[in-house]
Symmetry: D2
Subunit: 383 residues, 4 copies
């Protein structure tokens, strides 16, 4: 009988729900070395919090994150708050000797991310985790295995986009559109994911950013609960070009105004011997082009990454072949891997800790620097 | 009975075949105001030239382009040679008062392109044309009509890639890998097409380039007809970011080493009210997302652009619905439009002349400048 | 505070897991008029049962279904057993005044299905349900709404296939390959689903079967736990043609040996004014062709059926747009609708009861009769 | 220098244009042992015929097919007329010692097809051909090679549909809707193609038809050139089920009222070791599922069948990789193979002669018999 792992959660909105579900489902579908106890939930809206806690089975709740972060009963504190509220609770939990799981990006600013990385380094007893959940889509995890096995050879191209379209003019001025709360816009929210995926899949690091451009298409948005407009001061879209140490060229694009795309997290790698492509909107599938089959029969093939017999990551924990998984399963798979990692077991594919997430944050920062200090070539100069 | 239009062609390889076919087919499938006569063909390889001319029905042939360019019998000279051999024959033909159709890019260098633009301006009696054939894929022509009708609203994103993979290490050192002959590599060959498409579809002009990166992955290639290696001094891939005057952000990528892609000329536009996507490997189809249908039933739809009843461009000249067209039909459609334009009739969609193609060349040059003089942000600066 | 709904489950394998998860998740994601209590689980394998019950949160467990079916504490009995074990527990539960939810097909034979339908009719206090879970994929539920709104006009074609490929020669002789336990093979397992979908989507009934063919490709399979072969006496594949009362022509195909397909539950409807297509392997998407848009812009469009703003069925209960659902969500959506229906509320789309499922069973029987008593035309007769 | 092959064509409409183009293009793109001369064209509409002949380069023309069929100058007579007008010209041409190429289906009725087969058998000096043009789509020809090489193992399923939607109520009562002229409707027009493909790809013969259903959805259509309605007496759709000698189960469906589909000629084969799928609307692609790769990486792969290096059929005669072919190229490829076959050379893949096409006609007839004499199972019998 596995011993209990007491978890406390800060956050009760979108990510609060996704994490709650993950902690609740992990032991139902995985044989884990610890039994997760949904011990304490924390959120700012006390009116909603009781209902939230009851719904997902959190035993207690509080509106004071300081109490939760230092609650002696807890083994792990899960930070699922807006970006500007990662730092304080995570630092407090690390100081209290807890393991900490933090939503991505690690923080809204490089400085805060650095503080978190450094604190994690000092907290020898604590393990840290960042919820880059897409690593644990089975198709993505399979892609990483294929790259690591050398099926692509040297990588030449990485092409990543994360396109959404909810940033229409009628979307209200939530924290996601305010720099002081979010740090950046589509960039920190969406490019964070694809930069992590690019690093994760290639096993390589970016060493140069060659150009970037950011734009805010909708400058004013309605302040929630009022009839007044307020200023959006974050990017609606940010694109940048980069190189990896190993020589691959990369492009990244994040947008909240890419009409036609809802949640188009997509990444493609082209290597000497083959290519891989993942698109979240077909999240159970991995597209693989194996050039070694020769020009007569080579072609992009659609692998449905749900085969227990085929050893697909996480497949044996869920349903029969092609009885598909959804968005939330990435979180559940991650919760299971976190429990394993806390007990010193290997996760199915590598888990990102604060130090790893800080490397992603550095890339995001380099793109911001490039976009701000760019020296564009004006066409008027070319005659 | 339409009068004759006497055409002379310079070039007998890939483009020579494509243009010959187009001139031969135009009157078979279009009712045109002139009857095209395949009068004279020119090529450097005299051994092959006779067979080539006989095959496609050219009445005479010569290995001296100077003779062809000044042949008084000809109404139009078609230049289908490598990039460094556009300038001289085209200038000569303009001076001789001919109409001139030139392969893309207009030239290998900005300077040569400028000379051609200026000469065309001076040659008042001559009409000029550049073979940006993809404009005349019916699906592309339809896309332009939809944009021009305002179906997308203001454009926010242009995303264009032209990916091929034939640049493997065993591909020989043809003119396409030599800067003095080609000007650039994938950039001038492939980005030329997608920059033209981006300008054509949006009806807008690029005014800034925000960054670029070029790379030669295969530095040495075998010199044809020898067992010696030679140096490739052009880009195998070039990526750049840009803005349009109207505010749209754009990315462009050309590669000859993008394993998995054979001829992936693809462009997508996201606007306020909708989005369009064209992929040449499904060239008869246009993908259209009409956001005005509302979130319940909006979605990307696949229009098969072959409907005469639907008024699809060029559809009534070919076969019944969904009896698909191929690559060569873009050339035939263009040849037909050239004949119309010479007689003062409207082409189905705008035809690019030398002045128009020079604008594309300026964009290509701006990207080269950016790639060369770039001030990259090194990750080592971000700590 | 909603009152409790005490549920008992019979079955601990694939469907036992899927149903357990659904009952556990329903109140987490839906605001329901009753709180589901996972009260009692039943299974034949006592060694596994305790672990199964603990994992999913069932409070008690027993290996005797008779005890569970008559347990006075229970409000609803859920039968998730092999086909030959539906009849007795379901009858007992109805006699004990419970609501009953039964796995599909209603039974292995028409006679048993008839007994269940008749018993349900007599049990005035009980509501009955059959787990045709695919009705509650949001994309399928949306399809039904569009048909009901007349977006397709009169239906002319229904084309349904449910293709799998796990029936390879090395698959063991489980109950699914034995007629006395399963009733039939791919037919009862897979055609049951697509016949239900065809009836559900069209709102029409089949009135004639025009021909059928069944085949057992693998005649012998290994008896589990032994090294002996046994005889498979069910169909590996069964195809049939039918007409609907409203005039539509229909084809149905089920196979366990359709190499290349894992769980390809697909149905298409072509009507006077439009067409719809659903493929389970892209289960979040509905393909819709709206011919009323006219030949210029009509085309198949891919609606991602996850939009709360668009009113897509069940969308507001889950995640933001295009944060996809998986296989299990159809069951959870159904569990939620069952709870609503028990309280007299409307389900999102109609729920099948025993009488409804019996109509599907009649169609399956007609196909079996046609396949058995068929008068094939032999080519040798045609000279 | 190859000697001339004098061709005469009967028919000046859709097929007349397609065949004219094919004869004209064959020598431009293929190195053939004979030079095709477009000698004589024949059509009933003398007003149009001269223009048609001039456009495609036919040297002479006549409105009397009897003259053409016996013209001593001709080597080959090509019959591209409506179905009821195949018999007489083809018989006459055979009697005159010509080679004969006939449009598909071989005839509108089995009896006429039989006469043609028998006449062809007697005409020892003549070679006969039937324009089942889809065999010569490169992707289809590649599929046949892969099946013949055993890549699929024993075939279990053949699933073929040919769906169009032009048969709306406003389509006029042309010969295609009249039994005495066409023989049948969608069946003879479209099922003819997919039955030929099924036989061609499997290399196997159908030996039983298990059921069929035909329906005329639009009973009255406008008589062309009048304002009067006339009766359509052919099927708008016909479906049938069949078995191959080798054990495969097959389904066939043809429709002119399948809204959403324009020219959806599609066929799939599932075998023990793999599967293949071809869809004409993506005619340059072959989908191949190679199960021998194992469950980890097996998946449907999209082969673009345009690779000269890969040895794809006909690829070296056309354009570089993925510079796509269209509908008409199947005819040109066939014309080239006909010229080769006349000189005793091997075609790229087998060419159907009258005897072969008669076997397809027998299958069509068996389906008609089944549809007419069917003993349907009525649902009212199943209680």
């Amino acid at each position: 009988m596995p011993s209990d792992l007491f978890v406390g959660l800060i956050g009760q909105k979108f990510m609060g729900r996704a994490h709650s579900n993950a902690w609740g489902q992990a032991n139902r579908f995985f044989d884990l070395p610890r039994r997760v106890v949904l011990q304490a939930a924390c959120g700012r809206d006390g009116d909603e919090l009781g209902g939230f806690a009851a719904r997902f089975g959190w035993k207690t709740w509080t509106t004071r994150w300081e109490d939760l972060a230092s609650d002696p009963k807890l083994d792990l504190v899960d930070v699922a708050t807006p970006n500007h509220l990662h730092l304080a609770p995570a630092l407090a939990a690390l100081e209290a000797g807890k393991h900490v799981a933090c939503e991505k990006p690690l923080a809204g600013t490089l400085s805060e991310a650095r503080q978190l990385r450094d604190a994690a380094k000092r907290a020898k007893r604590s393990k840290t985790f960042v919820w880059f959940n897409y690593r644990r889509c089975p198709a993505v995890a399979l892609a990483r295995q294929l790259v690591a096995e050398g099926r692509l050879g040297a990588i030449r191209h990485v092409r990543a986009t994360y396109l959404q379209s909810w940033g229409t003019p009628d979307a209200p001025l939530t924290w996601r559109f305010q720099k002081k709360l979010a740090g950046s816009g589509a960039h920190g929210d969406l490019n964070a994911h694809v930069v992590d995926l690019a690093r994760f899949l290639t096993g390589d690091e970016i060493h140069e950013v060659h150009g970037a451009v950011a734009r805010t298409f909708v400058m004013e948005r309605g302040i929630p609960g009022t009839d007044k407009p307020g200023k959006s001061d974050v990017d609606d879209a940010l694109l940048f070009l980069a190189s990896f140490k190993g020589g691959a060229l990369a492009s990244f694009e994040a947008s909240r105004v890419a009409t036609g795309h809802l949640n188009a997290n997509a990444i493609e790698l082209n290597g000497e011997h083959g290519a891989l492509r993942f698109e979240f909107e077909s999240m159970n599938e991995l597209l693989f082009h194996d050039q070694t089959l020769g020009p007569r029969t080579a072609g992009w093939r659609r692998i449905v990454a749900t085969s227990a017999a085929g050893g697909h990551p996480y497949a044996r924990n869920w349903w029969p072949d092609a009885h598909l998984l959804g968005y939330e399963h990435g979180f559940t798979n991650m919760a299971a891997d976190v429990v394993r990692a806390i007990e010193g077991q290997e996760p199915v594919v590598p888990l990102p800790d604060f130090a790893d997430a800080f490397e992603t944050q550095r890339v995001l920062e380099a793109a911001l620097v490039s976009a701000k200090e760019r020296i564009a070539v004006r066409l008027s100069e070319i005659r």
